[in-house]
Symmetry: C2
Subunit: 214 residues, 2 copies
Amino acid sequence: MIEHTDLSKPIYKRLKEMIRNGELKQGEKLVQEKIAERLGVSRTPLMKALLALENEYLVESKPRRGMYLRVLDRKEIIDIYVCREAIEGMAARVLATKKNMSHVSQLKACFNPFTSDTDIDVDAYAKADETFHSLLIKLTDNTPLDKIYFFNDIHDRVVGHGLVRAPKDTLKEHFDIIEAIAIGDADKAEALTRLHINKSKELLINQHKIKTSE
Amino acid sequence: MIEHTDLSKPIYKRLKEMIRNGELKQGEKLVQEKIAERLGVSRTPLMKALLALENEYLVESKPRRGMYLRVLDRKEIIDIYVCREAIEGMAARVLATKKNMSHVSQLKACFNPFTSDTDIDVDAYAKADETFHSLLIKLTDNTPLDKIYFFNDIHDRVVGHGLVRAPKDTLKEHFDIIEAIAIGDADKAEALTRLHINKSKELLINQHKIKTSE
DNA sequence: ATATTGCATTTTGTATACAAAATGCAATAT
DNA sequence: ATATTGCATTTTGTATACAAAATGCAATAT
């Protein structure tokens, strides 16, 4: 039995964990009674959590039939990258317009641990990368943009496909974006951010092509 | 008693209607029992509807305290315009890349009724405008983008502040965007779409300035 | 052997009961 | 007069009972 002010929140987190680590499989039907029993809660707060996941597009509800874990195919992952290009690009633009030095140092702080010549800890870098991209949104102080991105982020994390490109390829790109924000070059900040995300997207698209053509 | 496969959907729609026409006021506390009684349903399906609204950011839940109708201030409306710039701009880009003539004629169809010299019916034009902007997203066939925009659209509709600019100002802009898509000029399609939305945004910002400086 | 039907079982959707927390207000203290 | 306390009332959060729909499978028909 999980304790909280509202059970649905910890249930929601637990479900996401279960989705990410494969305890629940893609396409699987989520039988309310069974999951409720497994988590030691009743269907009422579980339903709340499932509805939140449905709104985030992780779970699909077929009326009268039940809730199903959505299947994310490659097209949808690529579509998410297109969304990220639009949203993060705009975020970088907004930040460049603001030209706030506290923002700049916060962004730099993400990657400072990796500036020495020593080998980069890939896991640590992956986390820094995630922090950087979240921060880019948070710092804009644009609540709707934040909400929208959060929704996307969910997807991305669930996909859980770690880094698409090696740190040595992306580290400079990150610093270039930060620099453009620092000097207040909005066009450049946006363009660089888009390019950065676009490169990963292209890689995913090409992987697909290789796979299907063989 | 409303009939449906799932009561929460009609309840959800009814609530949105109540929000839009002012039956429910901004900032108001939504006491579950009272609304449930008013709609002739129990709290269970009502809760589902309220959670959907919460996820769309129309309603805010304070744990153990209740659900409150969110207050949209001018900053947030402007922030939504920034989101629209990013998302619709990207949508126009995607469509220009596809260069699908069926898309082009569908988009044109929105505004064809207004091409004659006669006076424009503002209400009809407002509807056409809404259709056009929704269509721009739908035609991309990018599900996450669609989801994201839908979320935004909600806001916009609730604000319900009709047209920001007169049809005579925006009609040509719409056709120019469509033309850029038709010739497959992705950069232009995106730039024009952004400019189009940005102009309305600037107008809202200036209105604000006038108000506050007086 | 395959398709169809009917029925028992499972599961969803809704209403409701109940405990715990929040709220509002009168009585009391300062 | 204002602040504080205590208690009745209201409201939320959760569990659960029940009806209606969906499902699965055995029995029967083709």
